[in-house]
Symmetry: C2
Subunit: 249 residues, 2 copies
DNA sequence: GTGCTTATATGCTTCTTGCAACTAAGTTTT
DNA sequence: AAAACTTAGTTGCAAGAAGCATATAAGCAC
């Protein structure tokens, strides 16, 4: 039997239950200049007026969580995505996946808000800073820290609204973990890319230098790369071969 | 700018928003007879009256998701847990961690219910079938399938309430993934255990045989094991040494 | 052509993993 | 008591993966 001191599992009246708002927040990540960057939007309301925050919104009736995340991505980042993996007009998919759910009772001072966080990996050229109220920021996660740090192009550091710095930390850790046993590393690259670019993606996510020869051997042996026979152009110096990610063998 | 055909991100009236119930469901896993088993409870209400389901409950006011999961575990499984990792009276912690959030609009036919799923790993001797309305079932996840299968001791297969078979599939896959780069393998064992038992845990989770010599080498080299100098007793045949999991080096 | 830079390949060493055979320590059988 | 049996634990070897250094190749500038 359950301990007698505890309240019963079902409270006698509905007042004990919570009926929270549920939102979806999306971590849109891209790679620029060898660093991970995240798309943030400026808040126009209290609390955290004028703070930068993750794009997000309340879920709607009849909409799944995945659909809500895709909608937020579409409206606040101008990106078409779907959890399976859709192809955008350009032909390259956007990777979108549920990350974690944040539900501490006081994470929003106004009311109980539970946020289901998603993350999206987007090729750099497709992230547009849709309005003056959205921008890309450099993302840095130090070892052992449970919040990520955010910097603008000038190196100025920012505090984020709500628990969003914590959400970013969870996102970076998740991506680091999945890098080795999934193919998410390709999601930040255009359809055709060089091995050097692929290595840069891995190095940015893991925040450490990798051995060139080993990296090439492993990638080529994985069977995930399809050589296109084409090469970079106008690089100065020897051009690298372009590869394509081979989905499904 | 966002496409003009889409509704605005913030609907004009609140009728578009959903204000769902939020519940926590807990996947309590243990190991018995070389198989993963899961604790299920029998439903006493419609829908899915008399179906077996995951223990769960609505979140309460002022309670975090982690706390709600621990409360469900306490009341419906008689287990003390906390997400960090607490020690129960016996001295062994219960591993509890958020798994994934399920929010399809029709997963509960009565109303919109979003469920934040957790999973707990429990040493076999501590799982009690608390009442006649709870029991352990064998858990099997076939490759490529997106729902898990549930069998009782006689080998009879059951259908679960709601999307709970899908939740179980996600749980098994998550644990499989984390087995190699975390120490969750120890959470299903008592404080002192043999290498053979540890290997059995890994084999049950991965559902494949492992090589004895390689497994031993890797485990001993990991530095996670502390020999106790003590040995099994009354085993018939040569007794194996007992090891302890060394938390934090 | 030379010199510079980056791409790509190769040889070597080290570490890991899988496989098989071996020794060790108990109990049971004869 | 000795032999047989079963599981615990070790060791040697081969195949594979990963780190490191070096060599060759291909483009550009001069």
């Amino acid at each position: 039997m359950p301990p007698s001191r505890e309240p019963p599992i079902e409270p006698l009246d509905a007042a004990l239950y919570d009926r929270p708002s549920v939102t979806v927040d999306v971590v849109v990540l891209t790679l620029r200049g060898g660093c991970l960057e995240v798309l943030l939007v400026r808040r126009k309301e209290h609390p955290f007026l004028n703070y930068w925050s993750l794009p997000g919104g309340l879920i709607w009736k009849g909409e799944s969580l995945d659909e809500a995340a895709a909608r937020v991505l579409r409206h606040k980042a101008g990106l078409e995505a779907e959890v399976g993996r859709t192809r955008r007009p350009g032909g390259h998919p956007i990777y979108l996946e549920q990350l974690y759910t944040f539900g501490n009772p006081n994470r929003d001072p106004r009311a109980r808000v539970i946020s289901v966080a998603y993350y999206a990996l987007v090729e750099q050229s497709h992230v547009r800073e849709i309005s003056e109220e959205s921008a890309l920021f450099r993302l840095l996660l130090r070892d052992e820290e449970n919040v990520a740090e955010i910097y603008d192009a000038k190196g100025k550091k920012y505090s984020l609204a709500f628990d969003h710095a914590e959400i970013l930390a969870v996102a970076v850790r998740r991506i680091r973990g999945k890098l080795s046993y999934t193919s998410i590393g390709f999601e930040l690259l255009p359809e055709r890319f060089t091995l050097r670019e692929l290595q840069a993606v891995h190095e940015a996510i893991l925040q450490k230098k990798l051995n060139k020869a080993s990296f090439r051997r492993k990638m080529l042996a994985s069977g995930l790369l399809q050589p296109t026979g084409e090469f970079e152009r106008g690089t100065g110096f020897r051009p690298a071969e372009l590869y394509r990610f081979r989905r499904e063998v």
